[in-house]
Amino acid sequence: MRALILCLIGSVWVNTVCAADAKAYSEHLAASPTGSVQIDNVAGSVTVTGWDKPEVDIQGELGASVDRVDVTHTEDHIVIKVKLQDNLIHVPDHSADATLQIRVPQDSSLEVSTVSAPISVDGVHKASRLHSVNAEVHAGIAGADVEAASVNGNVHVSGNPGVVTLRASTVNGTVFLTHGVGDISAHTVNGKLNLELDGAKSVDAGSVSGDVVVRGHLQPEAHLKATAINGQLSMKVAADAGYKYDISTFGGSIHTCFGGQDGSGPVKGQVGQGGAGQASVHLSTLHGAIDLCDK
């Protein structure tokens, strides 16, 4: 009991000291409404929101091991970089954290790169390139061209009718996509893909070790390709005028809801209204089971 109390006191003391060491940071500058903003952070978090002002606003807290935030502004390009103290490698506590809330013009092009800092972006209408290591990436209300990737972390992307291309990938983690439209590419190595389509034009989905689940609606001429090496493919996809499909697996099993097509394949066929649609679905696995249905 005494040890527990001592631990609690110690924990409170450590948190108090860390909080006391955090420095507030604030910066506000004019920006081109259609310029580009690049943000680099090593630890902590980065939250970016698009707004309708031609300005960039940065608010944050910097841990004791953070040396400074470099902000450089050249013509249409703004670079925000968190710099740690020289030669710092692995910091066991949170003293290297820089927690940044940044507002940028909504028509900016955005590039965010972090190492141990989650990225969250909302309301940026143009291109976004979001890359993180050891942290999650959230792209809500995505822009026209979105690239969201994490090495060790999940990727969450929410599309909207304005999205043209959407690339989401992770090495260790799951990709969660909602309202997937436009040209979609989603890949993972150790993890799952969970994709909800809302009128996708093309889909290229692949997992090395993990399941791929796709639900939703394809455009009339859409093409969907999904591959898993050691994972299952579970597809519930529909297209207005139907689609052609071909399914193959080397060591897995195949099931469709179209009747009489269970087995080990390969399977080809067509669903929908007399082949009026040009959409196609191509599914393949090495070992995993494949399940395809249009409802």
Binding site: K81, K83, H90, S169
Partner: protein, 195 residues
């Protein structure tokens, strides 16, 4: 993919013999990479030794030259291998229709050189990551490596199987993606520390 084959008929693989003989590097690099990474080379220290000698006693000019070479290799490979999203449609159609594997992944000698360069890079790229993160990345690289070996083993038994050829191509592309992302991660990490 089909278009590029028509433009360069000499690189087209029409049988599995050239494909198999030219597939891998001369030796399996993975055990060496793993040994280097798990050896004492990446003992993390809270504060690195400052100075021009670099973190591992490598002369600064050599480190810069090596980094430049790796970056050039990555750049060339990305430019060479990048697939626009609108090629998914063609590739999907071709994958089902064409049993011939016209793969930059397998048959292109340049790819093999760049792949070798990338495979030697993760050790350096990973050195800045926390140990547990490094382990997770290594586990994923191993997963891809095992998947490639699985497919190769299956191809050895069923060498004309177009599905296996397609999966091999896809997995090779996954491998490249992982290696490139790991490189980028290492660069971001080092940039943040001002190295």
């Amino acid at each position: 993919m089909a278009d590029s084959n028509e433009q360069q008929p000499s690189t087209r693989v029409n049988s599995l013999h050239p494909l198999r003989s030219g597939f891998g590097p001369a030796r399996d690099l993975w055990p060496q990479i793993e040994t280097r990474i798990t050896s004492g080379r990446f003992d993390a220290k809270l504060v690195a030794t400052p100075g021009a000698g670099g973190r591992h006693g490598i002369p600064a000019w050599l480190a810069v030259a090596a980094a430049a070479a790796v970056l050039v290799a990555v750049g060339v490979w990305i430019g060479h291998g990048e697939r626009p999203l609108n090629t998914v449609r063609k590739e999907t159609e071709n994958a089902a229709a064409t049993p011939v594997l016209a793969s930059v992944c397998v048959s292109d000698a340049q790819y093999q050189r760049e792949r070798t360069a990338l495979l030697s890079a993760p050790a350096e790229a990973l050195s800045g990551l926390p140990p547990e993160s490094r382990q997770r990345v290594l586990a994923s690289l191993a997963t891809v490596h095992e998947a490639v070996q699985d497919i190769e083993a299956a191809l050895a038994r069923d060498s004309s199987n177009p599905l296996l050829q397609e999966l091999l191509l896809t997995t090779c592309q996954d491998e490249t993606r992982v290696l490139t992302e790991v490189q980028a991660a290492g660069s971001a990490e080092r940039a943040g520390r001002g190295i």
